[in-house]
């Protein structure tokens, strides 16, 4: 073969670099985009190789043959580019056999026309061999299909460039470098193509596009080696961010600037029983729980976190709401992200520590001092029966306190899922405990529906029933338990005719914290509150007429898993609706005749 023309030598440089890049890209499979980058580069190599043959051929038929063969590479490039860009940037859901087939229809048709000898001169209206100063070229007058495939190539190139241009603005330098190298590698042949089609090249028949494949190859090689193009692809980032959003344990809502719901995660849908597809586009106030209250909290500018009690799949829980603005590159707020963080466990722990601290510092110390004092008295008078009785009672109270403290520590572990039991069995167990504590008491049990409830309710009811009997100074203490089911909740009432509960106890429970001056007595009511909180329920205290107390505990009953999330059912509201407070699940209702 005769000495090669300078143009052929330039093309062979492009072949060398392009093929090296294609091999390296192919080696990186199955990294995102590797296969398609190899296709793109192979297309360039194909085009450049057969252009060499065309340039070096001496006859019109030979040049025409190699020209037609080049179409395989020409049409592979934009297809490879588009799907590389999509796969590489994480839009791989658009890279499917169907989409590849659809996008490949026009290129395949072009190759078929070229293989069939260009019937009807669709690709080339005329072909002439022209002698020029730099070589002998096949000057092709484009046919209609030529312009179609050229426009199609430009379209695919532009579409593929969009996600890569987004990467140039990325914070991560490697991705910026990768993207820049890729765009340079693509822009160079584009510029050559535009120059050719616009007639800017003075040499007839010379299409400089494949000549600058060398630039493309170097850019791609640089991206592959220097910027770790395929070993550090950004594709997983979109998926990862989506995954984090979807898998986040906290419910998250995204609200647009017009107050319409833009998105919500799986946790939000499940926790609050929201149908995602139906909810998106709806006014946020209709979907986002306590939306107005959350906005008010945000507008107040108070950085101190406050809990909002919301009813969800797990009953009523205290959530801390956080609002974050979604800001675009021009510092414009485009949406707001509302995150609800369940702080029930945290608050429970905090309260338990607070109360146990008080118990240790105050109650135990008081009882110990009492024992020490009367023990001293016994030293001087060993026959002092009263002193012995006081010591004995004090020690019993400490033992009781110790038992309750252990219960509080063990039963309300937020990570421990207690068993479900039928409500009648739970009530029977609690009532039996009350009867044991007060053998003389009249204990009545009304109608109790057979619904499944969490076993922790036993502890709650045991404390309430025992307190009703033990703290009743009457000759014949009376108490009664009733229960009723409404809308996914069971409401258990414990009524007694005792002296009532000191309002100071309510206040402490309601506030959720104790202070040295304002604290409850004992730990029983706290156990009741923690138990109800643990069950996602709420508790209310009423005064009875003429005397006594009516305690109402509302807890969610077992629901089928299908009802629990994402089926469009609204989570039921607890029957005893009271003002939502940061303190907890306690409310106090004023009875009709509470004027005394």
């Amino acid at each position: 073969m005769a000495a090669l023309s300078p143009l052929s030598v330039a093309l062979l440089v492009a072949v060398t670099v392009g093929l090296a890049g294609a091999i390296l890209a192919w080696r990186e499979r199955p990294e995102p985009g590797a296969t398609w980058l190899a296709v793109l580069l192979a297309g360039q190599v194909w085009w450049a190789t057969f252009l060499v043959f065309e340039l070096e051929a001496t006859t019109l038929p030979a040049k025409a043959l190699w020209y037609d063969v080049q179409w395989v590479g020409v049409v592979a490039i934009p297809v490879g580019w588009l799907f590389f860009a999509l796969a590489y940037t994480g839009y791989d859901r658009y890279v499917t056999p169907f989409s590849v087939a659809m996008v490949s229809v026009v290129p395949a048709a072009t190759v078929a026309v070229a293989a069939a000898g260009d019937p009807g001169n669709l690709l080339a209206a005329d072909r002439v061999v022209r002698e020029t100063a730099v070589g002998t070229f096949l000057d092709v007058v484009p046919g209609p299909l030529y312009y179609i495939i050229a426009g199609y190539t430009y379209l695919l190139g532009a579409v593929g460039s969009v996600p890569l241009i987004q990467l140039i603005r990325d914070d991560a330098r490697p991705f910026r470098g990768q993207s820049a190298a890729l765009l340079v590698g693509t822009a160079a042949p584009w510029a050559g193509s535009v120059a050719y089609l616009s007639g800017a090249i003075p040499i007839p028949g010379l299409d400089p596009t494949p000549l600058v494949f060398g630039v493309s190859g170097v850019a791609y090689l640089l991206a592959l080696s220097r910027f770790r193009l395929l070993t550090l692809a950004p594709a997983p980032r979109r998926r990862a961010r989506q995954l984090v959003f979807e898998q986040l344990h906290d419910p998250v809502f995204v609200v647009g600037t017009e107050g319409l719901l833009v998105d919500l995660n799986e946790s939000a849908a499940e926790t609050f029983g929201v149908d995602r597809r139906a909810a998106i586009g709806e006014p946020a106030a209709a979907v986002v729980p306590k939306y107005d209250a959350v906005r008010e909290l945000d507008a107040s500018g108070d950085d101190k976190p406050r809990a909002i009690r919301l009813v969800g799949r797990d009953g009523q829980r205290p959530y801390e709401a956080t609002i974050r603005d979604v800001v675009d590159d021009h510092d414009r707020t485009t949406a707001r992200v509302i995150t609800y963080h369940d702080v029930g466990a945290y608050l429970g722990q905090q309260q338990r520590l607070n109360v146990l601290n008080r118990v240790f510092r105050h109650d135990v110390r008081t009882e110990t001092n009492l024992i020490l004092g009367y023990a001293e008295q016994l030293r001087s008078d060993p026959t002092d029966e009263r002193a012995m009785s006081v010591i004995s009672e004090s020690a019993e109270r400490m033992l009781d306190l110790s038992e309750r403290t252990r219960t509080a520590g063990e039963l309300f572990d937020p990570t421990d899922e207690s068993e479900w039991r039928p409500l009648p069995a739970v009530v029977d167990e609690a009532v039996a405990e009350a009867r044991a504590n007060g053998p003389d008491a009249r204990v009545e049990v009304g109608e109790v529906p057979t619904v499944p409830v969490r076993e922790v309710l036993v502890v709650v009811l045991e404390n309430l029933c025992s307190n009703a009997v033990r703290h009743n100074d009457g000759d014949a203490p009376w108490m009664r338990v009733d229960a009723a089911v409404a809308d996914g909740w069971v409401e258990v009432t414990v009524a007694d005719d005792g002296p009532g509960i000191d309002p100071a106890e309510y206040d402490v429970l309601d506030r959720g914290t104790e202070t040295p001056l304002r604290h409850g007595s004992g730990i029983g009511l706290w156990i009741v509150k923690w138990g109800v909180d643990h069950l996602g329920g709420r508790i209310s205290f009423d005064e009875r007429d003429p005397e006594g107390t009516l305690v109402t505990v509302a807890v969610p009953i077992d629901r089928e898993p299908s009802e629990a999330g994402g089926d469009g059912n609204e989570a039921p509201e607890p029957p005893a609706d009271g003002p939502s407070t940061a303190g907890g699940s306690v409310s106090r209702r004023t009875p009709p005749d509470a004027g005394r």
């Binding site: 073969m1 062979l12 670099v17 392009g18 090296a20 091999i23 190789t49 043959f53």
Partner: protein
């Protein structure tokens, strides 16, 4: 140790002074370079010399064929060493360590080398281009999991399992030998643009058969060194199946056939006598290596068969071509 401190470390954990000494050559680096040179570059050099010998034997004009085939040999063998580095750890530990450590660099070198070879071939015309693509295609079928994957796809139930060519007894060596024979004999013709008819089909056939047979022996000789590792991996080779002594006898017989082919070429004047004389020298060296198979150490057994071509190249230069 070369960098042993002259006094213990100071109380704060730092070291202040070191003994003055002359640093010896970094034998590790030298060994790495030697391992690299004894790998794909050596094979590439052998391939180039082999093509030059055949070019002389065919009597066609000189071309870029030796360079292109050398580049292809480098890229194919470098890629193969990287791909099978872990499997080669027992038989060629130094080369395997080098391939593992510099896998990326080796692959870049291999890719650029293959690209350059294809560019050279494309400059020589379509036939040379097609020829340049053959070794790459053979390697893909030979060493990669492409064929097994295709087999699994075609027979998803696993009734038919397609192994890598590299793992098939005799076919593995035959495939490599065939690829070498095609590249070595066809390249001088394709790159020079000389049709087979103008050289003579008999000459081409004789040389092709000779290179094919010799290449088969050259592939199987290093298998003597790799016998234990191949057996452990379940790869059947002549030494694994017939033992070292049996392999020696078989390969001596195969070399005898090659000698017969050379004799026919001499007798019929099918090829340039000087080139045939150089090939005869090469065959003599090969016979000596085959006779010593099992007695030479592993490194020598890996290099000696291919080294015979370098001896032949020197012989050809000495004869004056």
């Amino acid at each position: 140790m070369a960098n042993e401190p002259t006094k213990p470390s100071t109380a704060d954990g730092t070291t202040s002074q070191y003994r003055s000494h002359v640093t010896p050559p970094d034998t590790g680096a030298v060994r790495r370079v030697a391992a690299f040179a004894a790998g794909a570059p050596f094979t590439a050099l052998v391939a180039a010399v082999e093509v030059a010998l055949v070019t002389a034997a065919l009597g066609v004009q000189r071309s870029a064929a030796p360079i292109a085939v050398g580049l292809i040999a480098f890229s194919v063998y470098a890629a193969d060493h990287v791909a099978d580095a872990e499997g080669d750890a027992d038989s060629t530990p130094l080369r395997a360590r080098f391939a593992l450590r510099y896998a990326d660099q080796l692959m870049v070198a291999a890719a650029v080398s293959y690209g350059l070879a294809v560019a050279l071939a494309a400059g020589a015309g379509p036939a040379a281009l097609a020829l340049a693509l053959v070794p790459g295609a053979v390697w893909i079928g030979y060493a990669t999991d492409w064929l097994p994957a295709l087999g699994d796809r075609l027979a998803p139930l696993g009734a038919v399992s397609v192994p890598r060519l590299k793992d098939v007894f005799l076919l593995n060596s035959a495939a490599v030998a065939l690829a070498w024979a095609v590249a070595v004999v066809a390249a001088p013709l394709a790159f020079a643009g000389v049709p087979v008819d103008s050289v003579g089909p008999r000459t081409v056939a004789l040389l092709f058969a000779y290179v094919l047979i010799r290449s088969f022996v050259d592939v199987e000789i290093p298998n003597v060194r790799d016998a234990a590792a191949d057996a452990a991996r379940g790869v059947a080779t002549l030494p694994v199946v017939f033992g070292v002594a049996g392999t020696r006898r078989i390969l001596l017989g195969v070399d005898a056939v090659a000698a017969g082919l050379l004799a026919v070429a001499f007798a019929t004047g099918a090829a340039a006598p000087a080139a045939l004389a150089a090939l005869a020298v090469e065959l003599a060296v090969s016979l000596a290596v085959t006779a010593l198979a099992g007695r030479l150490d592993g490194t020598a057994l890996g290099l000696a068969p291919d080294g015979s071509y370098l001896v032949a190249g020197v012989a050809l230069l000495a004869i004056g071509l």
